[in-house]
Amino acid sequence: MLMVNLRCLIVAICLVGLVAPAWSVAVDTPLADPSLEARARAIHKQLRCLVCQNQSIEDSNSSLARDLRILVRDRVTAGDSDAAAIDFVVDRYGDWVLLRPPMKWGTAILWLGPALFLILALTLIVFWYRRRQGPDAAIGAPLNANEKAQLRALLDDGDHT
C-alpha cells in the first residue's frame, strides 16, 4: 500500500516537472494587425531590458520586459510613431534603455573612440617605422674619427688574445 502511494507521488512530481516550463514563459498576445505587430517587434529589439541588462526586451523573459512589450504594443496601437513610442520609454528610463545609444556629447567617446584608437595606432606605427629607418640609414655612412679609433682599439684587442 505504501509502495503504491510512493509510486503515485513520484509520478505526480514528474508531471509537475513537465508543466513547470508553462509557468516560467508567459506568452505574449501579438497584435491582430500584422503590420502594427511587426513595428512593435522592431521597437522591442531596440530597447534594452532593465533587469537582464544586455538583452533586448524582445529576448528577455523578465516580467518588466513583458510589461514594456505590452506598453510598446499599446503605444503603437494608439497611433504613436516608432520614434514617439521609443521616446515614451526613454522619458521614463533614460537613454540607458536604448541598445543603440544616441550621438550626444556624453556618448561622443563611445562613437568616436574606436576611430580615435585606430588613428592613434596608425600614427604610432608610422612614427616607429620612421624611427627604425633612422639608425638603418646611419649604417651605410662612413665612420667618423672617433668611431675609427674605437674600432681600431677593438681590433687591436682581438690581436692580443
Binding site: L50, Q53, S63, L64, D67, L71, R92, Y93, G94, N144
Partner: protein, 192 residues
C-alpha cells in the same frame, strides 16, 4: 646625428615604458570599474515632477495614492510588494520612520495581489500613510521602476529629489535620505 647610438637608446627606453603605461591605463579603468554599480541605472526623473497617476487603495485599506497627494509636504514613496524578499529587510526602518513621525512614507504596491499585500502589511506592520495599488505595474513604469524595492524622496512641490535603488539600509537613511530631508526643510537644495 653625430651620436646615433645614443638617440636609439633613448627611444628604446621610451618603448620600454610602454607596457607599464598600458598596464596602468587598463588597471585604472578596471579599478574605476570596481566602484561602479552597473545594476543601478540613474533615474531620469530626478528634479522632475512626479508622474500623473491615480491609484486605488488596497482592499480594506483606506487612502489610495495619486499625484496630488504628494504635494504640500516632503514625503518618501516606497515601491514594495509582498513577493519582494529584500523589501522585508528595509521594512523595520520604515516602521521606525513612521512611529517616530520623521517623514510621511507612502507605499506604491507594485504588481501584487491585493489580499497578499494586505496580508504582508498585517504580518510585518503597516508604516504607510497612503498606499496605491499598482496591480498592472503601469504606474511603476511611469516612475521608472525596474526593480523592487525602490524609494523616492519627493519634495513639498511634488518633485522627485532622489531615488534609492534596492533596500534602504540604516546607512542609506543616515547618510543619504535624512540629510536630504533636512536640507529640504532648511530650504536648501538637496543632493543624494
Amino acid at each position: 646625428m653625430n651620436e646615433p647610438g645614443l638617440e636609439q637608446r633613448s627611444s628604446r627606453n621610451w618603448l620600454g615604458l610602454l607596457p607599464l603605461a598600458v598596464v596602468l591605463i587598463i588597471g585604472g579603468f578596471l579599478f574605476a570599474g570596481l566602484s561602479l554599480q552597473p545594476k543601478e541605472i540613474p533615474s531620469v526623473l530626478i528634479g522632475k515632477a512626479v508622474p500623473e497617476f491615480d491609484l486605488p487603495a488596497l482592499p480594506n485599506r483606506p487612502k489610495g495614492l495619486k499625484t496630488g497627494d504628494l504635494k504640500g509636504q516632503i514625503s518618501l514613496v516606497n515601491v514594495f510588494a509582498s513577493w519582494c524578499v529584500s523589501c522585508r529587510a528595509e521594512h523595520p526602518l520604515f516602521m521606525k520612520l513612521s512611529t517616530h513621525g520623521v517623514v510621511p512614507v507612502h507605499g506604491l504596491n507594485y504588481k501584487d495581489e491585493g489580499p497578499a499585500a494586505i496580508g504582508w502589511l498585517r504580518r510585518y506592520g503597516d508604516p504607510y500613510d497612503r498606499v496605491g495599488h499598482d496591480l498592472k505595474g503601469r504606474v511603476g513604469i511611469d516612475w521608472g521602476v525596474y526593480g523592487v524595492p525602490e524609494t523616492f524622496l519627493v519634495d513639498a512641490e511634488g518633485r522627485i529629489v532622489c531615488k534609492h535603488i534596492g533596500p534602504v539600509m540604516a546607512r542609506d537613511l543616515e547618510e543619504k535620505l535624512l540629510p536630504a530631508i533636512h536640507a529640504l526643510r532648511q530650504g536648501d537644495t538637496a543632493q543624494c
